[in-house]
């Protein structure tokens, strides 16, 4: 198992804030909109640098999505900022008609995704957003894994033409990816090459997968860990190549089991190479209040859950 270390922990939303500022410096057409959550989305630095390119929308997410679509018509590259719940479910029809169907170059940037939002509880902990967004034709869906990757992804989507859903979160987690990485949309990142099982992880679950990989190594299991930061379009080649070698799969995500990354992989495999697969995901339920780490343990989204899923799927492979 390749050794990953970290010296610092940060939230992925801060990576977004830094990436937005960098994208704004690089391209004068980048504009930002926020629905009364500037601090939570870490947009202050952009606003300070480019006050004329920031639009405070108030608590009006539907209006924000529509205005973002309109801004693209004048050649702007709008980044919308609010919580993941209000970035997707609340405004699904606005995104569907005014952005996705209309092929508008809007970047929907969503913080506080998943259970790790913590104490605010289930009203705010959306676990269905990846599914909703990936079902929209033409929508790119990205869920980066740490501060550096989120910053790189934010800069990359500014250069990319087309609607994007960028999902990130609130908790501070280790920074373990390269600060100077090149973020290639749709290109999976090989975290660790192995031969016994393919672990496909996204978002906060990538670090948990690394911890799981270390535990598995102690158990004599050589896990391949691949970071799927772009859920749509899925890096089909990387998935199929890995699975051809390992013959079994664990998918890991902070999302409902139904409709997330695991389902995208299962759908690819069932068409090409039917393979035993276990899901590390929320088992079709809402979340609840609690500390992020408590919730990730209770809903079986931590490294122990990944280890258990790997043992289970390897046993299925041997049958």
């Amino acid at each position: 198992m390749k050794k990953y270390t970290f010296t610092e922990k940060k939230d992925t939303r801060s990576g977004f804030g830094a990436g937005l500022l960098a994208a704004g410096k690089k391209n004068k057409n980048v504009v930002a909109l926020c629905a009364d959550l500037v601090g939570s989305l870490k947009m202050e630095a952009f606003i300070k640098e480019f006050p004329e390119r920031f639009i405070q929308v108030g608590i009006s997410e539907a209006n924000m999505m529509g205005m973002a679509a309109g801004l693209t018509i004048g050649g702007k590259i709008p980044f919308t900022g609010t919580f993941a719940n209000f970035s997707t479910g609340r405004v699904y029809d606005q995104i569907r008609q005014s952005i996705a169907y209309s092929e508008k170059n809007v970047k929907i940037c969503a913080s506080h995704a998943g259970l790790t939002l913590g104490e605010d509880g289930a009203t705010h902990q959306i676990l269905e957003d990846i599914g909703m967004m990936k079902m929209l034709p033409g929508m790119t869906v990205i869920n980066p894994c740490d501060y550096n990757q989120t910053k790189a992804a934010t800069e990359a989507i500014a250069e990319f033409e087309g609607p994007v859903y960028l999902r990130f979160g609130r908790p501070v987690i280790p920074i373990f990816t390269d600060p100077d990485q090149e973020f290639i949309i749709g290109k999976a990142w090989m975290v660790n090459e192995g031969k016994d099982v393919s672990i496909f992880a996204t978002g906060h679950l990538v670090w948990e997968a690394i911890l799981a990989g270390e535990k598995l190594a102690e158990l004599g299991i050589d896990a391949e860990i691949i970071n799927i930061h772009t859920i749509k379009p899925l890096d089909e080649e990387a998935v199929l190549k890995s699975v051809a070698k390992t013959g079994c799969v664990v998918s890991a995500e902070e999302h409902n089991r139904i409709g997330g990354l695991g389902d995208s992989i299962a759908q690819l495999l069932v068409r090409n190479n039917p393979t035993p697969q276990e899901y590390v995901a929320v088992d079709d339920s809402f979340g609840e209040s609690g500390k992020p780490a408590e919730l990730m343990a209770k809903y079986h989204l931590d490294c122990d859950a990944i280890v258990a899923a790997v043992q289970k799927v390897i046993a299925r492979k041997k049958k």
Partner: protein
């Protein structure tokens, strides 16, 4: 430029002929609201807008128009075709398979003149405000126009946008509401009353004008007045009173023709009431 009212009235009649023929041809669509707004569309595209039928999505240096109540697409398609955006023959493909002339306006099939999809109601005002903000950021001094149905005002998003535009001094925006008092299930007063629309929009901070949307002289004068009041710190709202189905007597003033196509006899009767000097598609 002084408007040629006779010419505009003639075009509006041709647009009405196009609407009833298009809806008849595919036996579906929304003739009532389309007919009611034929004068608005004609005045807009043949007198008001600075626009280029050699279509460019960004519309830099042009006035932009957004139709929020997309179901009255037949009227819009007719004026787009008749002002040169695409061949009028293509109107015959309205609502048919493999056509760019979709039931509701869409950019997806690249029909020139359309900048965003509409149909699911309440979204066009937000999009138009975004486009108006982009014009300001780009130092582009042209205007943005929108049209909405009165029933559409029952959507909450409209009021989010209604709050935003005055607060942010979006004064390069001239919106209009087709106040025909009708929606699918009956009169708006019965379904969900809109109350005093002038008082509502004024209270939200808009500069409100009212006009008869089926009187070309008054309509053109109102557009000219609206333009003179742009860039004065407030978005402009025109409450445009129309008859649903205007121009075809048996379709007028009733919600019953919101989304029903005429049969062969009704088509002939309608066309007999709509005489003009131009050619059908």
């Amino acid at each position: 430029m002084k408007p040629d009212i006779e010419k505009l009235t003639n075009i509006a009649t041709q647009v009405r002929r196009d609407i009833v023929r298009m809806v008849h041809q595919c036996q579906s669509g929304h003739p009532g609201g389309s007919l009611g707004c034929a004068d608005y569309f004609t005045a807009l595209y043949f007198h008001v807008l600075k626009h280029d039928s050699n279509f460019n999505m960004d519309g830099t240096g042009e006035d932009l128009f957004f139709l929020s109540n997309g179901h009255i697409s037949a009227a819009w398609y007719s004026v787009l075709a008749r002002s040169g955006y695409f061949d009028i023959k293509e109107l015959s493909t309205f609502r048919k398979i493999n056509s760019r002339v979709q039931g509701h306006p869409a950019t997806h099939d690249h029909l020139p003149g359309i900048r965003v999809a509409s149909g699911s109601l309440g979204q066009g005002l937000s999009v138009a405000i975004g486009a108006a903000l982009a014009k300001k950021l780009n130092n582009d001094d042209r205007l943005v126009y929108t049209l909405h149905g009165d029933g559409e005002l029952q959507e909450g998003q409209i009021w989010e946008a209604a709050l935003f535009a005055p607060h942010n001094k979006v004064d390069n925006l001239i919106s209009a509401i087709d106040v025909n008092g009708q929606q699918i299930d009956g009169p708006t007063d019965k379904v969900l009353s809109l109350g005093n629309l002038r008082a509502k929009w004024e209270a939200f901070g808009w500069d409100v004008l009212e006009t008869n949307g089926n009187d070309m002289v008054e309509l053109v004068a109102t557009f000219d007045l609206a333009k003179s009041r742009a860039f004065k710190g407030k978005p402009i709202m025109i409450l445009m009173h129309t008859n649903m189905g205007h121009g075809v007597d048996f379709m007028m003033g009733s919600h019953k023709w919101h989304g029903v196509a005429p049969n062969d006899e009704q088509l002939a009767e309608a066309l007999a009431q709509l005489t003009c000097s131009t050619q059908d598609y």
